[in-house]
Symmetry: C2
Subunit: 261 residues, 2 copies
C-alpha cells in the first residue's frame, strides 16, 4: 500500500515514468487493473519507491504516510491494526526476560519505523527483507546512506532462518507464524535442543478480521496462504494452531473488552 501510494510522488520527480508501465496503471487509479499487476511489475514499483533515496528521507516519508494513511476496511491508521493477543504474548515473554523480535517478509527499514511504538520492539530487533545501502558524502562532507536496488535478504520461507542467523545468530526458543512463509522458521526453531514453542495463527474469522486457507476449506485468497500441508505438518510436529475465531476473545487492540460470549 505504501509503495502504491508513493508512485505519484516518484512520477512527479521522474516524468518519464508517467507513461511507462506499470506506473501508468498505478497512476490511473484503476483498482482492478492494479490488482492484476504481475510480480515483475510489482518489483519495478518496489525498486522505484523503496530505493534511490537516503535512509533518512525514507524514514521521513514512511512516518508521514503512517500518520495519514487509513486502512480502507477498518478506516484506521495501519499502526492501530495490531492484535491484542500478540501484544499480550510479547509483554509476557519480555516480563520473563525473553528478547522479542519481529521476523517479517516486509521491508526491514519500513517496519523499523513503527516497531517500537506499536510493538515495543526496537529497530535492532526487527529482521525483515533488506537491501544494501551505499555510503556517500554531501557538499559539506556529511555522510549519508542511499538505499540501493540490491537485495541482501529475502526474509520469507527459507530466508527466515537464514535471516535469523544473519541478524541474531541464535536459535529462537519460541516462534509464531501465520502463513506458509513461516514454515521453515518454525522447523528451525523446533530443531533446537530442549523445549521450544511453535505456534501458528489461523486466520479463520472473516467477520472479525480475515479468513484465508486453503487449509480447512478457508478461502484461497491473495491476503495470505495457509495450506493444508502446513496444517498437517503442524499436527504431526506438535505445533500449536491458534484459531482466531475460536481462541481469541479480542482481535484488535482498539476493541474495548472484546466480543461478548
Amino acid at each position: 500500500m505504501y509503495c502504491l501510494d508513493r508512485v505519484p510522488a516518484v512520477a512527479a520527480s521522474k516524468p518519464e515514468l508517467r507513461d511507462a508501465e506499470p506506473f501508468k496503471t498505478v497512476l490511473s487509479g484503476n483498482r482492478e487493473a492494479i490488482a492484476k499487476l504481475s510480480m515483475p511489475d510489482l518489483e519495478k514499483i518496489l525498486v522505484a519507491t523503496l530505493t534511490g533515496m537516503t535512509t533518512e528521507e525514507f524514514n521521513t516519508e514512511v512516518k508521514k504516510w503512517l500518520e495519514t494513511a487509513r486502512d480502507p476496511r477498518w478506516k484506521r491508521p495501519y499502526t492501530e491494526l495490531v492484535y491484542q493477543p500478540m501484544l499480550e504474548v510479547l509483554r509476557h515473554l519480555r516480563d520473563n526476560d525473553y528478547k522479542t523480535y519481529i521476523v517479517t517478509g516486509g521491508g526491514q527499514d519500513f517496519v523499523r519505523v513503527y516497531s517500537e511504538k506499536v510493538y515495543g520492539i526496537p529497530p535492532e530487533q526487527v529482521v525483515g527483507t533488506a537491501g544494501a545501502t551505499k555510503l556517500g558524502y554531501d557538499k559539506e562532507g556529511k555522510p549519508f546512506l542511499t538505499k540501493e536496488p540490491k537485495l541482501l535478504l529475502n526474509d520469507d520461507k527459507a530466508g527466515k532462518p537464514e535471516g535469523i542467523h544473519l541478524m541474531i545468530g541464535r536459535r529462537p526458543y519460541a516462534a509464531f507464524g501465520n502463513s506458509v512463509g513461516d514454515r521453515e522458521m518454525l522447523e528451525w526453531t523446533g530443531a533446537g535442543r530442549g523445549v521450544r514453542l511453535k505456534m501458528l495463527v489461523l486466520h479463520d474469522d472473516a467477520n472479525r478480521e480475515y479468513a484465508y486457507g486453503p487449509a480447512e476449506g478457508l478461502p484461497d485468497t491473495k491476503v495470505g496462504t495457509f495450506t493444508e500441508a502446513l496444517l498437517d505438518e503442524a499436527k504431526s510436529k506438535g505445533w500449536t494452531v491458534i484459531s482466531m475465531k475460536n481462541d481469541w476473545k479480542q482481535i484488535f487492540a482498539f476493541e474495548k473488552g472484546g466480543r461478548s460470549e
Copy 2:
C-alpha cells in the same frame, strides 16, 4: 590465524587441495612464504576454511580452536588478549543503559562464538563481515544452515556504517576505533544530532603491545594502519585520540594492577 590453522584438516578431507596453491604453501609451514601470500590467495583460504560446513559445525570448530590456540608472542589463548580499558568502558556504558555492540571487520560468525564470554556482548550485538547461509534438510528432515561462499557484508570502511544500518538500524551515540577501517563509522556517528562521542585508540606502545602508523612516525606494518590523514581528520573534527603508551596504565586484562609509574 584460525583459517591458516584449519588448512590441514580441510586438506585432509579434500586431498586435491594438498598440491594446489595456496594450500601447498600453507601446509609447508614456511612462515616467510605464508606471509607473502597475495589477497586472492588469502581469499581462497577463507572460502575453503569458513564456508561449506553447517553453522553448528563451524561453531564447534571455532570453540575447539579457541581452547587450544595460543598467541605466539603472549603465549596465551587469544580470548585472554583483551584490553582492560575496553572492558571498563563497555561496563560503564552498559551501567548507564547503553546497548554495546562490536562492529568488526572480522567474521561475524567467528566473533559471535566468544563475544559474550569475553566482552559481555551477546551474539546478536556483533556486527561483522558476514556471508550468506543456505537452508537444507538431513535424512531425518532436520533443518540445518550451510555457510555459503557469498559475501553479504564486508564490514570495513564504508561497510561499517552500512553494516550498522543493516544490523542495528540506529546511529551510534559513541563509536571507538583503532585504524583506517573505522574512519567512516566515526564520521557516520559524528553526523548524528546532538552530542556524539568519537574515539580512536593509537597503538603506539611497541613494548607493552604493538605500534603501528604510519601516523606520528610509527612503523608502517601489516598489523594495522593508522594514517596521518586519519589523525588529521580526528584533530579537525574533535575526535579523541587515545595513546596506549601515555593514556593506558594497564593494557591487557590479565595484567595485575598495570605497570608501575
